[in-house]
Symmetry: C2
Subunit: 490 residues, 2 copies
């Protein structure tokens, strides 16, 4: 069995667990309910028992079901706390420019760069021992010793060949079969996204973005003078009907999505949604930018199929990086641009010549020596546990009427507060007690998520993180009009 | 005396040596002629004797005059070998798109990245012991030991504050007074240029570029869909009359120049040209992108005044980097964007979030510990000597009718061959004997320099470099129709 076969085989598990997740998210299977027995489900779905067991274990890792001894699997997630879909009425009906788009991320990052006593729940990056700092430092020293001067000179603009080969092998597990020459190494996922946008768009062009949306891509669209139209999120991933309506109504030049472990929602598209999106793309000849920055931080153990796995025509531009999984400041990412590969190469060279060789060699060695697999395998269950704890604090400490998407990977949760709570105001007041959070407005090109926030923590859950989260909840309760008991600063 | 005063004081020397350089370049002072005595020139120009002595020593360092014991200074440069100006008739009269622009640089860089036996005279980068590899490797190890995990997380997108402060102090010597907050740290000079262009231009906009021109900026303009109009090079730097005519005739949105140690010519603008260009910029409200990548590789010892020194209105966007002076693959540069600073910050974040922290910290330490000054002071005379040797080989081995600009800094010489010699063909044939060179076409948006090449060498001159240069000359002679004696491969 080749790795590709293995990856394709795994989509059966992924497909089943996605279906079950969706049933849980939408309350079709509700809190405390027993899931069908393994044998029964295997019979009905014509799947092997192994596949069903895998899918159930996966849901257990996602912390939405629990196994009870000799009794079976039970739903653990209360769907009454789930945001169902982005209300369409919230979204701007026609494409518009991003002149007024407001992005706080540079400020949040600048805060993260400074040393201080702010608890950073607003930035999604690995913390503490989840950062493989010792191994990376050792490897860097070793590489400096053995390669010396060759690390200082100019190199191939599209990236170190050995690293591109490693990446080509990594993405096989997401069902992507390409050669090293189809990859451009970039300065993180952000540069991959910028290059993808510059490949596809001219100022004034319309890009359909999933809403809520990763702020970095909105910022790139803003500085490039692009216009946006928002497509709602639904439990299955993306509202494809709304996307198709937008395509029919407007001249949409490209679409931006994050199908696996989205930022900020943590959602994963169902396989049907992935297939459907690729079908739409082919039908309307619409390039789709797939942001895969978080896919390897899936809380489950089975690899996720990429949108690009279903892309026959080279219309998907796959963007990813090691920033979320290894080290943000390494700034190593990559772009698989499909039929736009040649343009992407030229853009990479034109924008910044190339990525520093040192980091490329270190990451290549890190993957080669098994460090990447180990590091990610170590981080996933920790992040999953942290997310459960974080959401427990939200459940306990936030005002009534607060709800969220249950994240299935990554470091963030997307929280909707009662309408009276302004996310900005919450941020400012939280900062006063030493906690930094990301206000919801920045996740929409038109700032529609006024009463939302994104909370995240990229390490082991700590008392300080809990105290901080509860402090934010307490302020939110007070802003919502609930009586606010005294809560200590974190 | 503050550093700024010192920098301003030094412009007198710079001004005088620029005037003399120009007289030598144009043959007003010709080969073998004696320069005026120091006292006489001091009296006539109302300058101190020290200033004149400094200027003469500078010209000696530039290898265009020589001191003869108890006799004075004599011109050493044969201006009959000098390209005077870019013939205006060669240049396209109206702005045009860069659809057909042909840039070989990615290929040249890819060649440079591969290990092999090609002698790389086509890429301008430091070689051998001019790369401070040991010191950088030591510093990197030290920084890894002392800062560890803090190097892996996200940081301030505009760059490490400590590094920005160092840079603010470095540029004082070019007569630029700014604060650290006016600086954006970029992924090399190339990203600074891209950001500057994206700040100023929309697709279809016209940029006036000096011709011959650094290929990287042309590539960036090409991928951004900009149009170009060429402005000729003259011994004083830039043909300002031609620039003004272009501005009056077309809607020029920005201007790109390299006033100090230009790539590919190695020329330095006269102070009058710098002042005049800033005056034109103010008069027409025209932003000017100043590429200062090579300014610290001046063959003379006195710092060069930046164009930005004369910029009162914030119209000059100053781009520079440590790629040419320290290490290409470190990818650390900076942009001082004047009145466009805010936009530049946003673009930097939107394009690639930030520069890797490790390199920023290492470069900051390198400057702090005096390594930068030492490294550059060590490199300059070596590069100056190498250039003299390289040009000697060109003089000896190239066909009759070959001429060039005498470079005053950097690693490159711009060579014009007899009309019969095609630079492309020369490149291909040179590569067959193991020498890589840069064909002239890529230094014009419209490929007008068919019979030109750029030759460069960024280290100590070696027998191999000499043999390689002579081999190129021999092929050129054969292409020009001259009889070709047997020359060994390098």
């Amino acid at each position: 069995m080749t790795s590709t076969d293995r990856a394709l085989g795994l989509t059966k598990t992924a497909e089943l667990s996605a279906d079950l997740r969706q049933m849980i998210d939408t309350g079709t299977l509700s809190l405390g309910e027993r899931l069908p027995s393994v044998r029964e489900l295997a019979r009905v779905r014509r799947l092997s028992v192994t596949t069903v067991v895998q899918a159930y274990r996966e849901l257990e890792a996602l912390d939405v079901v629990e196994a009870r001894l000799r009794s079976g699997y039970y739903v653990k997630f209360d769907s009454r706390n789930a945001i169902r879909s982005t209300p369409r009425r919230r979204l701007t009906p026609a494409p518009a420019g991003l002149q007024d788009y407001y992005d706080l991320m540079p400020e949040l990052l600048a805060e993260a760069g400074r040393e201080g006593r702010v608890l950073r729940l607003g930035v999604a990056s690995l913390e503490g021992d989840l950062l493989p700092q010792k191994v990376l430092a050792q490897l860097t020293r070793k590489v400096l010793r053995t390669r010396g001067a060759r690390l200082l000179g100019y190199a191939d603009p599209i990236g170190l060949e050995a690293l591109r080969k490693r990446i080509a092998r990594l993405v096989i597990e997401h069902g992507i079969s390409i050669s090293a020459d189809d990859i451009v190494v970039t300065s993180g996922c952000q540069e991959a996204l910028s290059i993808a946008l510059l490949c596809l768009c001219r100022p004034g062009d319309v890009v359909a973005v999933q809403s809520p949306c990763y702020p970095g891509v909105l910022k790139a669209m803003q500085v490039m003078g692009l216009r946006a139209v928002e497509v709602p999120t639904i439990p299955a991933g993306l509202d494809l009907d709304a996307l198709e309506a937008a395509i029919r109504k407007n001249k949409v030049r490209a679409c931006y999505v994050m199908p696996n472990c989205a930022n900020p929602t943590g959602l994963i598209y169902s396989e049907d949604t992935k297939r459907g999106l690729c079908k739409l793309a082919a039908q309307y000849d619409l390039p789709v930018i797939e942001d895969s920055a978080n896919a390897d931080l899936h809380f489950g153990f089975s690899p996720l199929s990429a949108l690009k796995h279903y892309d026959a025509g080279g219309l998907v531009l796959y963007c990813a990086s090691f920033s979320k999984t290894v080290a943000p400041a390494f700034r190593v990412g990559w772009l698989i641009a499909g039929r736009f590969a040649r343009q992407a190469e030229q853009l990479k060279y034109a924008l910044s010549i190339g990525v520093p060789l040192l980091q490329q060699v270190v990451i290549e060695r890190f993957i080669a020596e098994g460090g990447y697999r180990r590091s990610v395998s170590h981080a996933r269950p920790v992040l999953a546990a942290t997310m459960s704890q974080l959401l427990r604090c939200v459940e306990e400490g936030f005002p009534a009427g607060t709800d969220w998407h249950r994240p299935y990977g990554g470091m963030c949760a997307w929280i909707r507060l009662p309408p009276a709570v302004d996310g900005e105001r919450l941020r400012r007041q939280a900062l006063d007690v030493g906690v930094s959070i990301a206000p919801g407005r920045m996740f929409s090109p038109f700032g529609v998520y006024r009463n939302h926030i994104r909370l995240g923590w990229g390490g082991k859950w700590t008392d300080r993180a809990a105290t901080g989260t509860l402090a934010v909840g307490s302020i939110a309760r007070s802003l919502s009009g609930e009586k606010r008991p005294g809560v200590a600063s974190p």
